[in-house]
Structure formats: C-alpha cells, structure tokens
C-alpha cells in the first residue's frame, strides 16, 4: 500500500514526510536527555522561554519538590521534573556521598531525580497525522513544527499526542493577534517545541542544549546520539546505578522511536511519561474500514426500515 495510509500500516523507522525533501533533506537531528547528570537548574526552561519569546503564564507555588512548571504546555516547551524517592542511587543499596537530612534515619536511601522533558519529535507523530490544516509539518531535519500562520486552533493535536505535549495558548497573542471584530483576546493557537527550527536553519544548536551546563541535554544527529546513549547506559550499568534505562531510543516502539529520547532512572510513569506510547493513527486504516461498514449499515438500515413496512 502506498501513500500516507500505507505509511501508517507499515511503519518504518523513517519519519513520514521527511523523505519528500529529496535533495533538501538534512541529517535527522534530535535530543538525548541524560537525566543521570541533570542538576535541576532549569537553565533549559529559561533559555527556551527567552529564545522563543514564550509569555509568562503565571507563577504557582505547587509544593511539588522544586517543580513549579508542572507540565509541558503551550507556554512551557521544556519542563524539569523533580522526583523525591526513597530509593537508593545504586543497585547495591548505597546512596551517593551526600549529606541529606532525612530525619535521622542515617542519611541513606534517598535519591532526587530530575528530568528535563520536551516534545519527543516522534518518528510517527500523531499530532502531525491528525492536523486537519497541514499546520503541523515535518521539517527537513526530521523534526515536527507548528506553522503559526496556518494553525486555526481546532485542538485536534492536543488529545492526539500520547505525551500531552501540545496545548492551546489561552494568553493574549504576542504575534499575529486575532482580528478585533471577533472580540477575542486570546491567542487560540497551539504551541510546542520547534527544536529551535530557526536556530537549526542558521546552523546553531537549540537554546536549551546550548544553555545546559552539565550536558544532560545533548543535541546532535540522532544516529550519533543513539550510539552515545547506548555507551552511557552500559557505563551506568557497569557502575551499578539503580534502574537506568533508555526511553524512546528504539525505532521499534509505538511511535517509531523518539527524535528526542531519554535516559531515565525509573519507570517512565514516575516522571509523568507514558510507559507504552502509541501513535493512534496506526489503527486508522482499520478505523476507516470499520466506519465505512457502519455508514453502510446506517444507509441500508434506514432504507430497509422505510421501504419495508407500511406508512403508518
């Protein structure tokens, strides 16, 4: 089967739409976010906001460790998660040589996980598939970007994303506001990480990776990042770390591999990530067939009930 539906039925490791660039196609790039060296400084969040001119969206004191950003949304394209755990840092039960006050029970057995979350730039991106306007598109770098002059705020990509990355901006528009005659004040469009498409075009790395002081956020060609991640995972395992794993590195997962993948130290859901994300359009050929059958049944049923039997 050829065409877009064919690409859904036989997912490959290659992003749909990327090949269409032909000679204009660039090497696929992405992020490898190594949470084992994240120190929770939030420089990535700040750099992202500054570079992309993302509006301030209120300051809420959550009490959830050091996390007051809480989630990725239209106004937060990097989000540092903080997880406090009664779990040792090493598999043999040792903790790091930290002077942590745990209330007098020995100062061991506690670890503090930090993870800088971001749009995954999926190989098979549900947001891009379902976008009815073509606003979401695949760039020549294999990334997924919203064209703000096309988005009409239908919101379909919002529940389609298996990671809850995209969201509608309810703040006032900073650029390209809606016409005054509608009386609408809010932006109304969907916003998310562009993997700094403008910086890539200029040959620069994304703002978050540039600002990261510990190389927790690594930017580069995806193939190279995967090799680097494999080596890092093997090293942490050899050093006896507790629970290291790669998340989204494998092109055989439900979204064909992430363009931005992670090294985690616990299950994905502990960081608020789905354990088995799937691009829902994978089931679309089956759903269309099923819908046509239902439509046929509706046509046949109503017609039969009208033709057979009397008027009264």
């Amino acid at each position: 089967m050829n065409g877009p539906l064919g690409a859904l039925m036989e997912p490959t490791g290659v992003p749909a739409g990327w090949e269409a660039y032909g000679d204009g196609k660039k090497e696929r790039v992405g992020f490898f976010t190594d949470t084992s060296v994240c120190i929770g400084c939030k420089a990535c969040e700040v750099a992202c906001k500054e570079w992309n001119v993302i509006p301030e969206d209120g300051r809420v004191w959550t009490g959830e460790s050091y996390d007051h950003t809480s989630q990725l949304d239209a106004n937060s394209w990097r989000h540092v998660a903080f997880v406090e755990q009664r779990k040792p840092l090493f598999a043999n039960g040792d903790s790091a040589e930290l002077d942590v006050d745990t209330g007098g029970d020995g100062g061991t057995g506690l670890r503090w996980l930090m993870e800088s979350d971001v749009c995954k730039h999926c190989t098979h991106a549900a947001c891009l598939d379902v976008c009815p306007t073509g606003s979401l598109f695949r760039t020549e770098f294999g990334t997924v970007v919203v064209q703000q002059d096309i988005c009409n705020g239908c919101g379909y990509c919002v529940p389609a994303c298996p990671f809850g990355v995209l969201d509608k901006r309810h703040l006032a528009a900073t650029t390209d506001p809606p016409p005054a005659f509608l009386g609408r004040k809010e932006d109304g469009r969907v916003w998310k990480c562009t993997l700094c498409y403008d910086r890539l075009k200029g040959g620069h790395e994304p703002a978050c990776a540039k600002a990261c002081p510990t190389k927790s956020i690594q930017f580069g060609p995806l193939e190279e990042l995967r090799e680097r991640a494999d080596a890092r995972l093997a090293k942490l395992d050899a050093e006896g770390w507790n629970g290291p794993r790669l998340y989204g590195r494998d092109p055989d997962d439900g979204v064909g591999g992430f363009g931005a993948f992670f090294l985690l130290l616990d299950e994905p859901e502990v960081y608020g990530l789905p354990p088995d994300p799937v691009v829902t359009t994978r089931d679309l050929p089956e759903m269309w067939t099923n819908m046509l059958a239902a439509a046929g049944a509706l046509l046949a049923g109503v017609t039969a009930l009208t033709l057979l039997g009397g008027r009264r």
């Binding site: 859904l8 490791g13 992003p15 009490g63 989630q71 949304d73 998660a81 406090e84 755990q85 598939d129 009815p132 306007t133 073509g134 096309i150 988005c151 009409n152 705020g153 239908c154 919101g155 919002v158 529940p159 389609a160 990671f163 995209l166 509608k168 809606p178 109304g188 469009r189 494999d230 395992d237 290291p244 794993r245 998340y247 494998d250 055989d252 064909g256 859901e269 502990v270 960081y271 608020g272 789905p274 354990p275 088995d276 829902t280 359009t281 679309l284 759903m287 269309w288 099923n290 239902a294 439509a295 509706l298 046509l299 049923g301 109503v302 017609t303 009208t306 039997g309 008027r311 009264r312």
Partner: protein, 329 residues
C-alpha cells in the same frame, strides 16, 4: 518525619517507592481535549443531518412525500447549524477555511470537514429547491448526494474521537462509529416523528425505535470491551449523561412505539425525549473522554497491560538488545 518521602500535606508522595500506582504527583499524562460544548452538540446535529438525508430519500422512493419533505428540512437545518458550531469552537474562527486547504486521509477532522461541506451544500440546496418547488432534476440529484454523504457524516465523528490518545475513546474505536450511526438514526427518526402526521410517520418511528435498540446494545458491548476503564461511563458527569441518555431514550421509544401511531401529542413528546436522549449520549461519550484523560491511572493501566502482554518496546534496559543505530536517523 514518617517513613515516606517528604511531601507537604503529610501524605506519602505518590512517586514513593513501593507505591503500586505510579505517577508524577497524580498529574495527567495526556492533555484533556480543549473542545467545548459545541463539539458534542455538533456530534448530535451532524448525525441528525446525515441520517435525516437518508430517511428523506428513502421516503421519496416509497412516495411518502410528507415524510420526505420533513426529513429533508430537518436535515438541512441540522446541516446549517453544524458548521456554525464547529467554527465557534475554533481558537481562531477566522481561519476556519484552513480546514479545506488540504485533503488529508490521516486526519478524520480534515476528511470530516469535506464530508460536511458536501453534505451541507447538497442538503440545503435540495431543501431550498423543495421550498421553491423548482428544478426537480437538480433537487433529486442533490438529495441523492446528501443521502450518500449522510452516513459518513453521521459515523466519522466516532473515528474522530477514537483517533486520539484518550484511553476510553481509542479503546472504544471498534464500537464508536456504530454507536454514533445508531444514535444518528434514532434522532433522525424521532425528529421526523415529531413533525410528520402519524399516518405518514410509520417509517420514522421504526427507524427511531431500531436506532435506540441498536445503540443500547452497542453501548453495552463497548463498555464490556473497555473493561475497567469503562467505569468512567458510570462516574461523574459522564455517568450522569449516560444514565440520562438511557432513561430519556427508553421513555421516548416506549411512547413512540406504543402511542405514536394514534396520538400526535405522544409522537411529539416521544420524539423530543429520544432526541434529548441522543444528545445526552454524545455528551456522555464526550465527558467520558475527558475523565479518562484527566486521571493518569487509565493511561498507565491500559498501557501497562499492553506492555505485559506484548513486551514493551519504549524502554531499553541494560543488556537488552535494541535496533542498531542507523535505522531512521
């Protein structure tokens, strides 16, 4: 301090080791849809429009002109309201026409916009020509187009919601287009029963009764397949709408079936009750989606079950083989 991880209100942190349900401070994993009241209302009006177009054309074939005309007008009215609702829901309504700048088979909303355009144009044209009593061949052609575009219009909305990461919608993908189709038939039959004299409304009543029965059976089948995540249909707002939908549809159907043939008043009340029930059904499905998106347990539990059954591919632990670098990069 207690033996749990530090947490402000004294409750154990839900991220603590050993806690069975794991999540990030109980926050949702996926986003709730941003859609507002217009969308479930449109699911109803779109279904009403689609099934009414079929009913009208079928009645025309049997020479039942009163029913054919009434169903045509009902369908056209519903077809005219539908785009207004959809445009009103957009974050940028002035850009509604961007829906039609591409044809995209991977987007149910895109194809649905095209189907609504064809259905709306043909049914309003047919209704206008009927009113003016002009250009009979054009009117017939338009009615046929509307009758063919109607069933996809009534059922694609089931695919629209199923093609999301919302657990209770995606896992209900086998039944949802059928449920929406049955509900559309029920509302079209019920609406026509209200406005057509009982001696000509027999087909409309049969369609209403059959639609309600089919929809009830299909909802039951879907809730069974959904298993534990199907519980959202019994809880909160979805539960309220679900119970209201059943009660209204059953009461209306009973009235239509028992007395609709003799009493015009019963037909009007019965038809209105069924229509109200079908509107509630769309709201039940809509709200159930929000509830299952809001609570991370539905996302995590259904995915964990899949992981245990199929073996996860999203995470790679040390020593596990994953595809070598070079694929897709």
């Amino acid at each position: 301090m207690t033996d749990t991880t530090f947490h402000l209100d004294g409750n154990p942190s839900i991220t603590a080791a050993g806690t069975e349900m794991r999540s990030y401070y109980g926050r949702p994993i996926i986003k709730e849809p941003t859609w507002t009241w217009e969308i479930p209302t449109y699911f109803f009006t779109g279904g009403l429009a689609g099934a009414s177009a079929v009913l009208s054309s079928a009645a025309r074939v049997t020479g039942n002109r009163e029913l054919a005309r009434t169903a045509l007008y009902v369908g056209a009215a519903a077809d005219l309201v539908s785009p207004v609702l959809l445009i009103s829901d957009l974050g940028r309504p002035e850009r509604f026409h961007h829906m039609l700048r591409v044809v995209k088979v991977t987007s149910p909303m895109n194809l649905g916009s095209w189907v609504l355009l064809v259905s709306g144009a043909s049914s309003t044209a047919a209704a206008a020509l009927q009113l003016l009593d002009k250009w009979k061949p054009v009117r017939i052609a338009a009615s046929i187009v509307a009758a063919l575009a109607g069933p996809p219009l009534a059922t694609y909305t089931g695919v629209l919601v199923a093609d999301t990461a919302v657990p209770v919608w995606h896992d209900g993908r086998h039944e949802l287009p059928w449920i929406f189709g049955a509900s559309a038939a029920a509302s079209a039959g019920a609406a026509a029963s209200m406005f057509v004299r009982p001696e000509n409304a027999g087909p409309a009543r049969r369609v209403a009764v059959a639609g309600v029965l089919a929809e009830g059976a299909l909802m039951e089948a879907m809730e069974r397949r959904l298993g534990t995540i199907g519980e959202v249909y019994d809880e909160g707002e979805a539960g309220k709408f679900s119970r209201a939908a059943k009660g209204l549809a059953v009461a209306g159907t009973a009235l239509l079936a028992k007395r609709g043939r003799k009493s015009r008043a019963s037909a009007v009340v019965g038809g209105a009750l069924v229509c109200a029930g079908e509107l509630c059904l769309r709201w039940a499905v809509f709200k159930a989606g929000f509830q299952s998106a809001r609570d991370p347990k539905y996302v995590v539990e259904s995915q964990r079950r899949r992981v245990e059954r199929d073996g996860t591919k999203a995470t790679t632990k040390p020593g596990e083989s994953s595809a070598p670098p070079g694929r897709g990069a």
